[in-house]
Symmetry: C2
Subunit: 234 residues, 2 copies
């Protein structure tokens, strides 16, 4: 795949005219990271827009006491970290870490903004993208504030399967590899409770599999559980 081909899959890229595409291509740098490294860390100066080309990345925030919270799992095509890169002299409000070996494209803030200023339609697309992300984040906050741990985990699995579910003979397999710890960090519980709840879900034939791969076996019931407060106890 050539550089230009991969850029074509970037959201917004389609809206540019040929000249701006060429200009942007010149500004894009492809970088690879391995699992265990960081793409950037909380507090680093934010100098680039990042676009995920291949692999999966998690956005993480941590508290002074060392506890971590995973805000979102990014998949190819996703932009990050718009929320910070947007401000002059700002630092990243969270870290980005690969969930596997990944390759990302990065563009300097300056070049990206210049492109947006020349392409109002692209800017409107970014506005829509950010609107969507804001929505997701608020929905997430609502779930954290109001729902029980098992409901939050069910919601998470439903969201994940809708984004990265791969059909399989006995259900939908998640294309990302997530440990119970990862799941726990996404719904704000400890590993132990995440494990206990997942075990319950297994017993109830809602899911199967371990860290290597998670398979959703009964999406409908998971969805019910996510909203209905007392379905499928024990």
């Amino acid at each position: 795949m050539t550089e230009t081909d991969s850029l074509r899959r970037i959201p917004l890229f389609d809206l540019l005219n040929e000249r701006d595409r060429q200009r942007l291509v010149g500004e894009v740098v492809e970088v690879c990271y391995r699992k265990g490294e960081y793409i950037f860390r909380e507090g680093d100066p934010a100098e680039y827009f990042h676009i995920l080309k291949a692999g999966a990345v998690k956005c993480v925030k941590s508290s002074p006491s060392g506890k971590e919270c995973t805000l979102k799992v990014l998949m190819p095509g996703d932009l990050f970290c718009c929320e910070a890169a947007v401000f002059d002299g700002a630092t990243h409000p969270g870290s980005a870490a690969p969930l596997c070996d990944v390759t990302i494209l990065r563009v300097s803030k300056k070049a990206y903004f210049a492109m947006l200023r020349r392409n109002p339609d692209a800017a409107l697309e970014v506005i829509k993208y950010l609107g969507k992300r804001l929505n997701e984040a608020q929905e997430n906050a609502k779930i954290l504030a109001l729902d029980r741990a098992d409901q939050r985990l069910a919601s998470l699995l439903v969201k994940l399967v809708e984004r990265v579910g791969i059909p399989e003979p006995n259900g939908l397999r998640l294309a990302v590899r997530l440990t119970r710890q990862d799941l726990a960090n996404m719904v704000g519980v400890t590993v132990e409770t995440a494990i206990r709840i997942m075990s319950r879900f297994k017993r109830a034939k809602l899911v199967s599999g371990g860290a290597k791969q998670i398979v959703i076996r009964d999406l409908a019931r998971l969805k019910e559980l996510a909203v209905d407060s007392l379905a499928a106890r024990r």
Copy 2:
């Protein structure tokens, strides 16, 4: 205050040229709502951008079981509900309710988008605004996921006082009137716990006052409590 004057205080308005200002002025409608009404409700079609002119508004989401969660308190100058109004045919993902009698300005999506398309600098300002809101929402989610109830409440009071704190002889008074129920809905706890924690804060001379007005008497210690996990127990 004339219509144009109040528009001058809208974020982004400064960036427009005179002609676009005039055009937008023609599209703006001023509407008043009283406490107890709704500006829009979850599920309503989203047809306008809203700008708060005077008063205070809360953005609320609710779960099927009837529990509510307040996502943000808006103050004059704030835009809402960008996160939804941005999409074609979308409905509001949450409700907006006045905390007192308010007046808002509203512009049709179409007119606003047309204006942004003609004014790339204004579009970039909206991008920055949404980036900031996304940040806030994610920070919020982190706090909900990781912190104890008293820390969340302390964080909330700190955030509020920074936005709407009015200096007073014995501290900073919040310019918005919020009941314990309102506070509870913002940090994801029940009224009773919000009351108990506020009582503790009162005893510790961190705050004073009731529903009519909340006064922050020791901001420094509240900030400590918000991060440090074991300050100021009992």
